[in-house]
């Protein structure tokens, strides 16, 4: 995470460096095999199972070379732990891409990244390598929203001081929440109940150049929610916007300290398409077995608690369900607690109804396939600010940055981090670098072997 953010910041001063061609994509794919096989941790005997990996021609060839030695050691020892080997072999991420700078005199660039177990092994062409080719789940927080707290210390990213420190926090402020609740009720705008306070500090590690920023921001607003109105929830697109008002104090080496006032926004609009399931579905026999097991256990357990002398007592059942440990991992107990607390008592007011509902619930819960990964994702992020006091850094009171993204997952059923192609268009100015104008198109691809 730190290295990713670090490269992103470092890239500001070194944009569009070292142009390469898309041939790198193919070259790096071949390179993966070589790197995997060259893992010094593995002995020749350990490498033997890799020969069965038909997806890696290089590994297979090299493993065959080692097979004579491996066969001898296999005779005298237990077979290696294959699952352990798979872990060592396949936890690799690879990404590469090409940037087309659309500005006059802009320079095109290519970039790639190879990492093992999250550790960067080789990379070139930041900053785009960080945001475009890393597996989605390892990306830093997107530009359009923030975690509650984050501290980042970056080494080797500033020419004079040697590093940068970045910290920020967002949290609800009780006083403003109360005021906002009253205002929200009066205006019937419930989203205004939860204003968040924000505080951010950016500094070089020698603290000679610092920027403090503090203010208030709204919770997630949905100004485009009308898109989701109507039959079938309209386009059902995820959309949110945060608005904030900030005071920024800038104190840099050789410059006079100054304060500026800002209105800013962060927003996102996106939708997935063609959802698929990432779970391996159970066979009908496995499903039946699981349902029978959970149901029998749940019925037995609950009846022990709520039926005395053959008399069913819903009140006891409710009390028992409420008493079940909230963090229980027992599927029968989870089912009892969830069902009893979410269904109307009139639907389970007899022993027969309870048993029937329980069977129906468990059968549906564990046999229904849910679709959780989009095949295609399309989204637009935008951030911007309006400076209402103080001297402007770039002579524009209003500046913003917009990115439009289209990602296609080649193997969505294997999860979001398996393989994808990402087309991104970015235009505008980032607050961290108000004098740098971006206008480019990138095409990236990523593969993960997990």
């Amino acid at each position: 995470m730190l290295s990713l953010v670090s490269e992103r910041v470092a890239s500001v001063a070194t944009s569009a460096s070292r142009p390469r061609t898309m041939l790198l994509t193919a070259l790096m794919l071949v390179g993966i095999g070589t790197i995997v096989q060259a893992d010094p941790v593995l002995s020749p005997a350990d490498a033997l199972p890799a020969a069965t990996d038909t997806s890696n021609a290089t590994a297979a060839t090299n493993a065959t070379t080692n097979s004579a030695t491996a066969a001898q050691s296999d005779l005298a020892s237990a077979p290696p732990d294959v699952s352990k080997l798979i872990g060592q072999f396949v936890n690799w991420d690879f990404g590469a891409g090409y940037l087309r700078d659309l500005q006059k005199n802009g320079k095109d660039a290519s970039y790639y990244l190879v990492q093992q177990n999250g550790k960067q092994m080789a990379a070139s062409g930041s900053p785009f390598v960080n945001t475009d080719v890393v597996a989605p789940q390892t990306l830093p927080v997107p530009q359009s929203d923030k975690k509650s707290y984050q501290l980042t210390i970056q080494k080797g990213t500033a020419q004079l001081s040697g590093g940068l420190i970045e910290a920020y926090a967002t949290s609800n402020i009780p006083l403003f929440r109360e005021v906002a609740t009253a205002v929200g009720k009066a205006l019937q705008l419930k989203d205004f109940r939860e204003f968040r306070g924000t505080l951010a500090v950016n500094s070089t590690t020698d603290f000679k150049s610092t920027v403090w920023q503090g203010g208030l921001e709204t919770p997630a607003l949905h100004p485009l929610q009308f898109l989701n109105a109507g039959a079938n929830n309209g386009v059902n697109a995820m959309n949110w916007t945060f608005l904030s008002v900030l005071n920024e104090n800038q104190d840099s080496t050789g410059n006079t300290q100054r304060n500026v006032g800002l209105f800013s926004y962060r927003s996102s609009l996106g939708r997935g398409f063609r959802p698929v399931s990432t779970d391996t579905p159970l066979t009908p026999a496995e499903t039946n077995e699981l349902v029978a097991k959970v149901t029998a256990s749940a019925i037995q357990t609950s009846e022990d608690k709520c039926i005395e002398s053959g008399v069913y007592d819903y009140g006891k059942l409710k009390t028992y369900a409420d008493s079940i440990d909230r963090s229980s991992k027992d599927q029968a107990l989870i089912s009892i607690r969830f069902l009893v607390r979410n269904i109307s008592s009139t639907k389970i007011d007899t022993k027969d109804k309870w048993e029937s509902a329980l069977k129906d619930y468990v059968a549906t819960r564990y046999s229904t396939v849910h679709l959780t990964q989009s095949t295609i994702e399309a989204w637009i992020d935008s951030t911007g600010w309006y400076q209402f006091t103080g001297p402007s850094t770039n002579n524009n009171r209003f500046s913003n940055l917009m990115s439009a993204n289209l990602r296609y997952y080649l193997t969505p059923n294997k999860g979001a981090n398996s393989s994808w192609i990402l087309l991104r268009y970015e235009n505008g100015i980032e607050r961290a670098t108000p004098t740098v104008y971006n206008d480019y198109l990138t095409l990236s691809t990523g593969f993960a072997f997990n």
Binding site: L139, N232, S327
Partner: protein, 104 residues
């Protein structure tokens, strides 16, 4: 008094502005929100297995990282029970039944 599941689903809808992407799950959520008291065991079975990633749809892990705390705060404020512990398995693939069961 809303049920724990209703609190979770309404919080998700308010946080992300969406209902699940999958058609069957979307229809189940719509039916439930219209008349939560009418939910039968079959409908609850469908709803219980829905994962949060279905609401988020895009850039799922990133969005989850950035919004999960605000989402949980929303649930807590609706539950009106102060600070609660997030359930085991808290992440974009957590199912609605596990979130609902974490409420007192």
């Amino acid at each position: 008094m809303p049920t724990p599941l209703e609190i979770v689903i309404r919080s998700a809808k308010e946080q992300y502005g969406t209902v699940p992407l999958d058609n069957n799950d979307r229809i189940a959520v719509e039916a439930y929100l219209k008349a939560p008291d009418d939910a039968d065991a079959h409908l609850l079975g469908i709803l219980g297995g829905i994962q949060m990633s279905e609401f988020i749809q895009v850039n799922v892990q990133n969005e989850w990282n950035a919004t999960e705390n605000a989402f949980w705060k929303k649930i807590e404020s609706k539950e009106n029970a102060g600070d609660l512990d997030k359930p085991d398995g808290w992440g974009p693939s957590i199912t609605l039944d596990l979130i609902a069961n974490a409420l007192p």
